[in-house]
């Protein structure tokens, strides 16, 4: 296996709040190979978006990356010069955001926004930039791209806008795209189309993709691997099929059980008891122990990340037999 495109090691991102330092991301390690699709799954506030923003270097005060390393193609990004980060952003690492209504500037035409993105990183003519933009729009399935290029964001529907946002992200054929819940704001049919096209585009261009979502169904068909986050830490990583079919962490199990499709009609949905703990008062042990059916006194010590058969896990009492030997 070649060197990973992205290697995140023990990343810690904190936010200074009135009530103390909030560790939004703690001890997160991710490896991503070229062309690989990683689904980063977790509920609201689990730190999955902050992980994405940390990688692309868009953590603003009061937040800061407090420790760890992010190596992109072997280059360290934590503490890199702002100018260097700016050169990477948009060109080699691109980001797609959740709400397509909000990510396009309402007062600029699509053409202006696309051309300026091309010219931000390359010295080329306006005409060439225009041609590239039309090509990118066509690739994401926008009909009569040349005419639509002149239009403004409000003249596009939600799904179309997200396509435009994806086209902008693709302009420089980046090596890594971080997609932060890009289909959450869209309705289900459009979501399906966007998912299908994203998959096709990343396959064709060999782009690695980190797909951040709270929706397990979305990553099920898309991701090669899945990383599950809880309270700022990754609790389980594995091949998508493995994680979904035989989850080892009680939290992953709970997440999968609470998907409506897993329950027979008329039955009550299973739920994880309790609610997410405040990141300010996590204590020393496993963050999930208060809600975990398998918790024992041992769980008041933080479990280490253990890897067996390409399956990484952070739990003292894992479920499936595959990982039990390691615990």
């Amino acid at each position: 296996m070649s060197a990973p495109l992205l290697a995140v090691r023990n990343l810690r991102t904190e936010f200074a709040t009135r009530d103390g330092v909030l560790p939004a991301v703690a001890d997160v390690s991710i490896d991503l190979a070229r062309g690989e699709v990683l689904g980063l799954v977790g509920e609201s506030g689990s730190g999955k978006s902050v992980t994405g923003f940390s990688i692309i270097g868009l953590i603003d005060p009061p937040g800061r990356i407090a420790g760890g390393s992010i190596a992109f193609n072997g280059e360290e990004l934590v503490g890199a010069a702002p100018e260097r980060m700016r050169a990477l952003r948009g060109r080699r690492i691109a980001m797609i955001f959740q709400d397509p209504m909000m990510t396009l500037n309402p007062v600029l035409s699509i053409e202006t926004q696309m051309v300026e993105t091309v010219l931000a990183h390359e010295r080329t003519s306006r005409e060439a930039a225009r041609a590239r933009s039309i090509d990118a729009l066509t690739r994401v399935g926008i009909a009569s791209a040349a005419e639509r290029l002149h239009q403004y964001p409000h003249q596009f529907s939600g799904g179309m806008r997200q396509r435009v946002a994806i086209a902008i992200a693709l302009l420089h054929s980046p090596e890594l795209i971080i997609a932060d819940e890009p289909t959450t704001a869209l309705d289900v049919t459009v979501q399906g189309q966007i998912l299908y096209e994203m998959q096709k585009l990343t396959r064709d261009s060999g782009t690695a993709l980190i797909w951040i979502t709270h929706d397990l169904a979305v990553v099920a068909g898309l991701a090669d691997r899945i990383a599950v986050m809880y309270a700022g830490r990754i609790v389980e990583v594995g091949a998508a099929a493995d994680v979904l079919e035989s989850p080892c962490h009680p939290y992953t199990r709970g997440l999968l059980d609470s998907v409506p499709a897993a329950t027979a009609p008329g039955q009550r949905l299973k739920q994880i008891s309790g609610s997410t703990p405040s990141l300010l008062r996590l204590g020393a042990g496993c963050a999930f122990r208060e809600r975990c059916p398998r918790a024992t006194p041992e769980c008041s010590a933080m479990p280490e990340m253990t890897t067996v058969d390409g399956r990484a896990l952070r739990c003292h009492h894992p479920l499936a037999p595959v990982a039990r030997e390691a615990a």
């Binding site: 692309i56 868009l58 700016r86 050169a87 990477l88 952003r89 948009g90 060109r91 691109a94 980001m95 955001f97 959740q98 709400d99 909000m102 990510t103 396009l104 500037n105 309402p106 007062v107 600029l108 202006t112 300026e116 993105t117 931000a120 990183h121 399935g141 926008i142 009909a143 403004y152 409000h154 003249q155 596009f156 529907s157 799904g159 179309m160 946002a165 902008i168 459009v190 189309q193 096209e197």
Partner: protein, 303 residues
């Protein structure tokens, strides 16, 4: 090829942003009247050399024998003084048209300069934050703590007379209003996702501020701008009335009012009253347009 439903094209009755803006603006008759009045005033001022019956700056055309003629009087060479003449025998109508030109020039120029300086500083303060924001906004606070007329009077006392001097004084007084408005508008926009998205594309800071932040913070600035231009015209008139504004060779409306002030008690009302009405109409027209702009551009009042 995808089979997504195509969104409506402009031909299907979807208005362009400008079209929607124009039709919303036209909803108020009062505002339209104000706009028409403003256009007439601006055109009159711009075309002054062709419209005015007399060139009030050409002292050779003046005849002291025609001084203080009432409205409707005939001059020696057959010219009708529709609004009378002033103490030097100047045709009041011509003087008002030229005076309006000076007043508008001062108001619009100082407004535009103050808008540029104030909005750039305000948007930068919002974008950069930190010490820069602290310094700029404290200066704004101090500036707004003093009465505008006082600051302008002191400046003019130091600088002397002249159009450039009064524009400097008005800009000094007014930039703070724009800076404050620009900062608060930009603070709102700054945390919207498209700014984050622009940063994620690796655009430069200057580009984000000028191309993305500033245009989106513009609507409230336009509203403040119209109000402040009216303000600037009134302030300039006040300063001229107090004798600290423009040189008497090129009188603005304020100076015309001031010139006629001494004749007011002797029944020669026209020298002060007509320039006063012109000033009133100008400011009224600008404010009517500004009010409607505020209603149309205010997202909170969106219908």
């Amino acid at each position: 090829m995808s089979v997504l439903p195509t969104p409506p094209s402009p031909a299907d009755g979807v208005q362009t942003p400008w079209g929607r803006f124009a039709s919303q603006f036209a909803e108020s008759r009062l505002a339209m009247a104000g706009l028409v009045l403003l256009v007439v005033i601006v055109l009159t001022a711009l075309l002054a050399p062709w419209i005015a019956p007399q060139d009030p700056y050409d002292l050779t055309k003046l005849d002291l024998l025609d001084a203080r003629q009432p409205p409707g009087a005939q001059s020696m060479d057959g010219l009708t003084y529709w609004l009378g003449t002033d103490g030097q025998g100047r045709d009041m109508l011509s003087a008002i048209i030229y005076g309006m030109r000076v007043s508008l020039e001062v108001g619009v120029l100082s407004g535009a300069i103050a808008l540029s300086i104030g909005s750039v500083l305000g948007v930068l303060a919002a974008y950069l934050g930190g010490r820069f924001e602290q310094v700029v906004m404290r200066i704004v606070d101090i500036q707004l703590g003093f009465p505008a007329i006082l600051v302008a009077l002191i400046l003019l006392a130091v600088l002397g007379k002249g159009i450039d001097k009064i524009i400097i004084a008005l800009v000094t007084v007014q930039w703070a209003y724009y800076a404050r408005t620009a900062r608060s508008a930009a603070l709102v926009e700054r945390h919207k996702e498209y700014i984050e998205a622009a940063r994620s594309l690796g655009l430069s800071g200057a580009r984000i501020v000028l191309r993305h932040l500033l245009p989106n913070a513009l609507p409230p600035l336009i509203v403040v701008g119209t109000v402040q231009v009216a303000h600037a015209i009134a302030l300039e008139a006040t300063l001229s009335f107090l004798g600290l504004g423009l040189p008497p060779t090129e009188p603005s409306l304020g100076l015309l009012i001031s010139n006629g002030y001494e004749y007011l008690m002797s029944g020669k009302y026209w020298i002060s009253v007509y320039p006063g009405i012109a000033l009133l109409l100008t400011i009224l027209a600008i404010n009517l347009v500004g009010d409607q702009l505020r209603d149309v551009l205010n997202p909170r009042l969106a219908r």
